[in-house]
């Protein structure tokens, strides 16, 4: 066995060198700026269920330039973790699709499983949990597919214009199904602060401290503290035999705003004592009012969020 067959060392060196030393590419906009119809997060409560149990799903969405137009949501759930990139050739819905419009609790969807739904999947993969994939389409100003069309997951073309004549976005969410005695729980944002000012729970808007109208506000500190219960440990299981252990959850905050610029799109939180920190900057020509979204994630599908309107 030649050493060049052990590992692709030439590629490794290339990747580091090209990216780190000489990388030169066109600048791209940040995903934290919300300036069009977006689904920002999908929460399952609870995120991990036992066979036969149910869960409730909710989206965090924004349509800052929509002017209050109706947004229609089409939901469907299928057994298994589906490879989105290759479509849904073998997927079968767990339940009929659900089409609802906002204003009628449209961003909310509930599913339940039977104890037998995922037994085959559990046996096939040799994993400790099975998965349900939820697909949600948000459609604004256009015509979404019918429930019957959406039910034909095998022929659903996600590259096509699913919201005919309008603006549509598609998001996925995976719900874990297991018999774990300590299933995953959603993380919880204990508190957050803007420029050092702690924001009370339930407050819907606040003036950014030391940020005057029609002036640039640079590097406004943002801190989010996650609750102690968010930091869980869980058994890991790899598909291949021979490597198991316990892992700590990776917890991080995704930051979104309808104006301004963050230092980072995401920031990590290692412990309740160490807040996830970021900084927001507003230019002079940014609007004086914006919505800030703070979304907490763990790496097993747990999600929660909070939002607030900021003004200067």
């Amino acid at each position: 066995m030649s050493v060049s067959r052990i590992t692709d060392v030439r590629t490794i060196v290339t990747a580091f060198a090209a990216v780190s030393i000489f990388g030169c590419s066109d600048p791209m906009e940040s995903g934290s700026l919300v300036d069009e119809l977006r689904i920002l997060a999908v929460r399952a409560d609870p995120p991990e269920i036992a066979p036969g149990a149910g869960t409730a799903l909710t989206t965090l969405w924004a349509d800052p330039k929509g002017g209050g137009r109706d947004v229609t949501f089409v939901w469907i759930a299928a057994a298994g973790q589906i490879d989105i990139a290759s479509g849904f050739p073998c997927a079968t819905p767990l339940a009929p699709p659900q089409i609802v419009t906002n204003g009628e609790n449209g961003d909310h969807y509930e599913i339940s499983t039977t104890p037998d739904d995922l037994i085959e999947q559990l046996a096939m993969t040799d994993e400790t949990c099975a998965k349900i994939t939820i697909l949600v389409l948000a459609c604004a100003g256009g015509t979404p597919p019918s429930a019957d069309d959406f039910a034909q997951l095998g022929s659903l073309d996600l590259k096509s214009d699913l919201c005919r004549g309008g603006e549509g976005v598609v998001a996925t969410k995976v719900v874990r199904v297991s018999r774990n005695e300590a299933p995953n729980m959603n993380p919880s944002i204990d508190s957050f602060a803007i420029a050092g000012l702690a924001i009370p729970q339930g407050q819907s808007e606040i003036q950014i401290p030391l940020c005057l109208p029609n002036t640039a506000c640079k590097d406004v500190p943002l801190d989010a503290i996650l609750a102690q219960s968010s930091f869980e440990a869980y058994p890991t299981s790899y598909v291949m035999p021979g490597a198991t252990g316990y892992s700590d959850e990776v917890l991080y905050i995704s930051w979104f705003a309808t104006a301004g610029e963050f230092d980072n799109d995401r920031s990590a939180s290692d412990s309740p004592e160490e807040p996830a920190s970021n900084r927001l900057s507003l230019a002079v020509d940014d609007p004086d009012s914006l919505t800030l979204y703070i979304v907490a994630h763990d790496n097993r599908g747990g999600t929660s969020w909070t939002s607030i309107i900021l003004f200067r």
């Binding site: 030649s2 090209a18 998001a171 996925t172 598909v239 035999p241 790496n299």
Partner: protein, 698 residues
Amino acid sequence: MRVTFVLRLFISACAALFVHAARAQTDAGVPEADAPDASPPSALPPKTDQTSISEWDEIVVWGRSPPLEVTQREITQKEILLIPGTGGDALSAVENMPGTARTTFGSNEIVIRGSEGKDSQIYIDSMPVPLIFHFGGLTSVVNSDLLAGINFYPGNYSVRYGNATGGIVEAVLRAPKTDRFHASLDADLWDTSALVETPIGDEWAVAASVRRSYIDGILTHIDMGDMQFTVLPRYWDYQLIVDYCPNNADNLRLSVFGSDDSMAQSWEVTWSDEPSFKGESGVHVGFHRANLMWSHNFSNAVSNRAILGGGYFLVDWGYGGMESEKYDMMPMNLRDELTIDSGRFAVFRTGIDAEFTYVWAKDRVPLDYTSEGEEPIPWGANTQFIAFDAKVYFARPGWFGEIELTAVPRFRLIAGLRMDYYTYTRDIGIDPRAGIRFQATDSTVLKAGIGLFHQVGQMAEIYEKYGNPDLKLVSAVHYSVGVEQTIADRVDIDVEGFYKDLSRLIVGSDAIIERDGRMVPERFNNDGVGRVYGIEIQIKHRPIGPFFGWIAYTLTRSERRDHPGEAWRLFDYDQTHILTVVGSFDLPWRMSAGLRFRLVSGNPDTPVEGAVFDSDSDLYIPLYGKPNSVRIPLFHQLDLRVDKMWQWKYVAFSVYIDVQNVYNHKNVEEYTYNYNYTKKGYVYGMPIIPSLGLRLEY
């Protein structure tokens, strides 16, 4: 008919004679002395136009030796030193030959005749090495001054080489000079190297070289913005050659060489948009190798060359604590070649080529492995990983034998057989190969070749805790036919068509299979097939006199089909047109000037036709279109080089300026996308880079 050959005598103990003198005959099988129209001595080029002091140590005779391979391309030392854009680097010069694709900027790969870089083998002194270039392909890991030459075999090569289905690049270390003490010092934009060599008594000679980059020193004074290095990029390499030549029949050589590249970044700071990447990211790659070679002439007809080599290779890299690989490898190689020359009728060669490698691998890698032709799925906090700590032995004993028949005038037939046993996969590769060269006229040689080639999969693919240990050997059949024509004094044209049939290529698999009574993911299988075909044309003015240069053009197509029933797709580095023009003129006042121009089709790319938001990882997952169905824009680049030398008796001082990408064209290397794949941008290659080089020789 030109029948003499280049006898390149680096004044040394005896090594050069071993290499070249044994086969001083033409394609027609006519000994040199019988040649009807040998060029007269008066045709020798004047020595006053040399550009390097080292040329004083060569005796150059007109003509060429017929290659032992159907297709063998060589680059002389003068060409290596003066090709613009290569910085005088020997292995970089290979990329200007027909049959090699333009490598992506910063790449360490050499893509030969539509094969992946890992399908080709790189040898230094007949021993395989894992990499040939330092960071970003800036310079090779061996000092070009210590090379006797580069042999480049794009296909249909001898049974002497195994475990490769692509091509072969062999760097041959030269013997140390024995006339007196020599020393040189080289410095350019990236690094400085020093070389000393001296005879010790009548029978010993030693050469030693060391090189160290100073990119880290430069970067220390440059504002790198958010990019924070904890270990600045740096590389170094060394070579030591000890040559012992006690008599005309024996030559013993110890060569020790090594290389080390390292760099590290604080990822938490630089790319904190991905919070699951924590801590440091870096790479440390190095190797140290020692070879002991003994060449012995039993008689004028029988000679033997044995090489025992061993070393240590280290690959240690990690991305922010998320993905990491650490390989400690200890390879041992044994090669022995026995040559029996029966005179005018045949030459027999046989030998063994054995490898034994101990690997200690500690890996934490994504479960999803991205193979050639596949597009990567973005990493996120939810990416699944697998970890293993493996201590594995790989062994590959191999035997080869070939006969070179020259009994029929003007015909040279080379037929051989090679067998390798791969212990880990318990598989045998049996490779029959044959080539023929026919001197049709005094100025025309027709050539053809066919051969079977095998190679084992990479460790990740065959290791049972990650891949599939039941994978078969990858197989390729090479076909080629061509003509070499002398069209004018010093000018040759070489046209060669080739076809390569690839089978049992290793591709990803989603299947669940039963292995040892247990259901496991198959991960990889041998479903892939491929085909590569094309034509290579080289019009070359030999490096004799005040000018050398060539026009190399390759028209090629390389395709793959990953699974039965799927459509054929283009290979990741398929480049339809590859045009390289190289020229260098000697000028008065010991100056020379040269240019290199390249015009190459853009690499294929897979378009992104949409994206879906994965709310669990907070990432958009791209929805790809037909694999490799579009191309990045055409690549073109002009490089210029001017050399000037001053000489005072034994001391020479030269200065050169090598300007890459003279007109600063923004060559696109790949596409990049915004967060939700609705906008596309470009990643660009090297901007204009003027490099000043200084060289002091004694």
